[in-house]
């Protein structure tokens, strides 16, 4: 066995993805180790959300080439629910409203489905409620929200907090947060960032996808990557994010377009 393959938590190798015959990702390479926080930045339309969806298993596009290895295992053949049960979590840019499905029923089904996968008994109601109470505190979520239908009538900020709340409950090893900062005011941003920071640990990794640098003031990344036209065109440490904040994306675009 090649030890190199299992040493990364996540290894993306030359990933190419098409949506309706248009190539959106044109060869992504990325390594993520346990304990690391990676930020993926880039202008609109560069393929950031497509990358997040490809990791979580959305199937409206074709993976034409390359591999996604998670803990040494190829993810591309796994159903979204199995990726989740293997410890991958996607925080949605636009959390979906599901009228008629209560938050409590949804969360309990999710947790018990994860437990079943690990051959554990369903969590008794009392323990489940206790767990909910604990995790709610992390994101300062209003108790009323858990009595409603999933995301229905939630404000933008509540929806994003709800994503982090679910992340806390499901306790993933790899969290991918897709534009979790968009549409948040400064207080909500701080709460969401605190939530993420609280869940950091040496066994876990986080990929933060964002357009702006401001979230990275609260969650300090180990690595910053710039995605542009379907490729990672620049990688660096947190100072790269600062540079982008000051100068925008134009200088990177120029560099890339000149090379081409």
């Amino acid at each position: 066995m090649n030890t190199n393959e299992v040493s990364y938590m996540l290894e993306i190798k030359d990933l190419r993805v098409n949506i309706e015959d248009k190539e959106i990702l044109k060869g992504i390479n990325l390594h993520v180790n346990a304990g690391e926080v990676h930020a993926i930045m880039g202008p609109n339309g560069s393929g950031k959300s497509t990358l997040a969806s490809a990791l979580a298993g959305r199937d409206y596009f074709d993976i034409t080439h390359g591999k996604i290895l998670y803990e040494g295992r190829d993810l591309t053949e796994l159903a979204p629910e199995d990726r989740a049960r293997e410890g991958i979590f996607l925080g949605f840019q636009y959390p979906v409203e599901i009228p008629g499905v209560s938050m409590v029923n949804f969360l309990r089904t999710a947790i018990n489905s994860m437990r079943k996968y690990r051959n554990q008994e369903p969590l008794p109601a009392g323990e489940f409620l206790k767990l909910m109470r604990e995790k709610k505190k992390i994101v300062e979520i209003d108790s009323d929200l858990t009595n409603r239908s999933v995301n229905e009538g939630f404000s933008g900020g509540e929806k994003k907090k709800n994503e982090i709340f679910q992340m806390a409950l499901l306790d993933p090893r790899l969290a991918i947060l897709d534009e979790t900062d968009s549409g948040l005011d400064i207080d909500a941003l701080r709460i969401v960032a605190n939530g993420v920071n609280n869940l950091r640990s040496p066994e876990k990794a986080t990929i933060i996808i964002t357009h702006y640098q401001r979230l990275l003031d609260y969650i300090i990344p180990d690595f910053v990557h710039v995605l542009y036209k379907g490729r990672i065109v620049k990688s660096g440490d947190k100072s790269l994010a600062k540079e982008l904040e000051e100068h925008g994306y134009d200088w990177i675009k120029q560099e890339v377009d000149m090379d081409a």
């Binding site: 629910e81 979906v96 599901i98 949804f106």
Partner: protein
């Protein structure tokens, strides 16, 4: 004169059947009933069965079913029927007076044909009520259920002999809901007519649950009529739960007439049934009446369910809310035809209609047709109809939290169906129906667990 027997139309056969058995059918009938039957058979003779091209029956061609090989029964058959063994009611929170109708005849192993309470409330066999209270029954029976161009009402009026009669006099309230269980049990294919008449007088209140079941696998064709009258400022809730096997055919005709400021809710939950046609006519006769009509159909295989509804706003200031939903799988078909008729004098009408459907397969079909006829100018009316699929974004969201796709689909279907169930006014029934619907969607329900527990397949 017809040349050969083969040339007899289906309608001719039924007319002949009536003439041949008239004596038995109308045995003991008071004069008004005899006249009503004659009127009905003549009306049927004029209309015949709806032709294939008939606009109102475009998707549901019933004549071939009526032409099938069916046996008829004009007297109650002495079926050995172990009440407690075959049949036990499992509606724990539902503390109801249970009335059973077996193959169209009131069935009472113990107790009496007609329950006559001291306060004047009467419920039990319609046949018996016709005998004992001919004047009361004659005032209502057949007065609202029109025979004008209504083939199936005419046929039922000519042939039906029994069913359930409920009478709640002015100012009174039934202590418990009444649960009517229509059972079908036979050793051969059979046609059944039965008839219900509910009279709820001024300021009175009644709740009725109707369950339709088959107890044996034979093909059954049921043509039933339920007539209801709600007096001034009265309340009537009717909830019908259809769960006949998929080899049966059921035509229901429900005619509700509402007096001033009365409130009525009518719900139809179709869990199973081969070919089902539900005709619902609600007529708001008196000013300020309100009505809420609910419908939920869950179909798969080659089931066919056709909901035909007419909400008649005949007076000013009436309100109607209609909420019908369908979940259709496999090769099943559904039809919704929702007519709202606002008469010229019915100013300040508020009428709302929604019909939402989900198709789970590429071969399931739904035909939906909202039909608003508004002849008054100061009204608020709206309608909306949708046919779609389960929301892929919502499915992915649930899956991304570790919930398997099948389970995610069920959660979304449950939520979709519960949107109707949550509007049922009796909270005790909501939970029970919700559970039944959940079972139905999971494919765990072959027959109704609501009432009939030990039925063979």
């Amino acid at each position: 004169m017809k040349d050969t027997l083969e040339a007899l139309s289906t309608a001719d056969k039924y007319i002949d059947l009536f003439q041949q058995n008239k004596k038995q059918i109308s045995n003991g009938d008071p004069q008004f009933m005899k006249e009503l039957r004659e009127e009905a058979i003549h009306s049927f003779e004029r209309t015949g069965f709806p032709l294939r091209k008939h606009e109102l029956y475009k998707f549901t061609h019933l004549e071939p079913v009526f032409d099938g090989e069916l046996s008829f029964q004009f007297t109650p058959r002495n079926i050995q029927f172990e009440d407690s063994e075959i049949f036990s009611c499992d509606v724990p929170m539902l503390n109801a007076n249970v009335l059973t109708v077996l193959n169209g005849f009131y069935y009472y192993p113990s107790g009496s044909l007609l329950n006559e309470l001291d306060n004047g409330i009467i419920y039990g066999s319609l046949k018996e009520a016709i005998h004992r209270y001919p004047d009361l029954v004659a005032r209502y029976l057949g007065k609202n259920a029109s025979m004008q161009n209504e083939t199936f009402v005419s046929l039922n009026t000519a042939f039906s002999q029994d069913g359930i009669f409920i009478y709640v006099p002015e100012g009174l309230q039934m202590e418990k809901p009444i649960q009517i269980i229509h059972l079908l049990l036979s050793d051969k294919n059979q046609m059944v007519h039965h008839r219900n008449l509910f009279i709820v007088e001024k300021n009175a209140k009644a709740e009725v649950i109707i369950c339709d079941h088959t107890l044996s696998p034979q093909m059954f064709l049921t043509n039933s009529v339920t007539e209801a009258y709600t007096g001034e400022n009265s309340d009537l809730d009717i909830l019908r739960l259809q769960n006949e096997h998929n080899n049966s055919c059921q035509v229901t005709n429900t005619w509700i007439s509402q007096d001033r400021a009365s409130r009525c809710q009518h719900g139809t939950i179709t869990l199973h049934g081969g070919m089902v046609r539900n005709n619902l006519h609600v007529r708001m006769e008196g000013e300020g009446a309100s009505t809420s009509t609910l419908g939920l159909i869950l179909t798969d295989k080659i089931q066919h369910v056709d909901s035909f509804t007419v909400i008649d706003h005949a007076s000013p200031n009436c309100t109607s809310n209609q909420y019908y939903k369908g979940v259709l799988d496999d090769m099943s078909t559904g039809v919704f035809n929702g007519k709202i008729h606002v008469h010229p004098n019915a100013q300040k009408t508020e009428a709302f209609q929604t019909n939402n459907n989900i198709l789970l397969s590429n071969t399931a079909k739904m035909h939906t047709k909202p039909q608003l006829e508004i002849y008054a100018d100061d009204v608020k009316c709206s309608h909306g109809a949708t046919i779609g699929q389960l929301d892929e974004d919502a499915l992915f969201y649930l899956q991304s939290r570790g919930i398997p796709r099948d389970e995610s689909r069920l959660m979304l279907m449950d939520a979709f169906a519960n949107d109707v169930i949550s509007r049922i006014q009796q909270p005790a029934l909501q939970d029970r129906i919700s559970e039944l619907v959940g079972k139905r969607l999971r494919g765990e329900l072959s027959r109704c667990n609501n009432c009939v527990m030990h039925c063979q397949d």
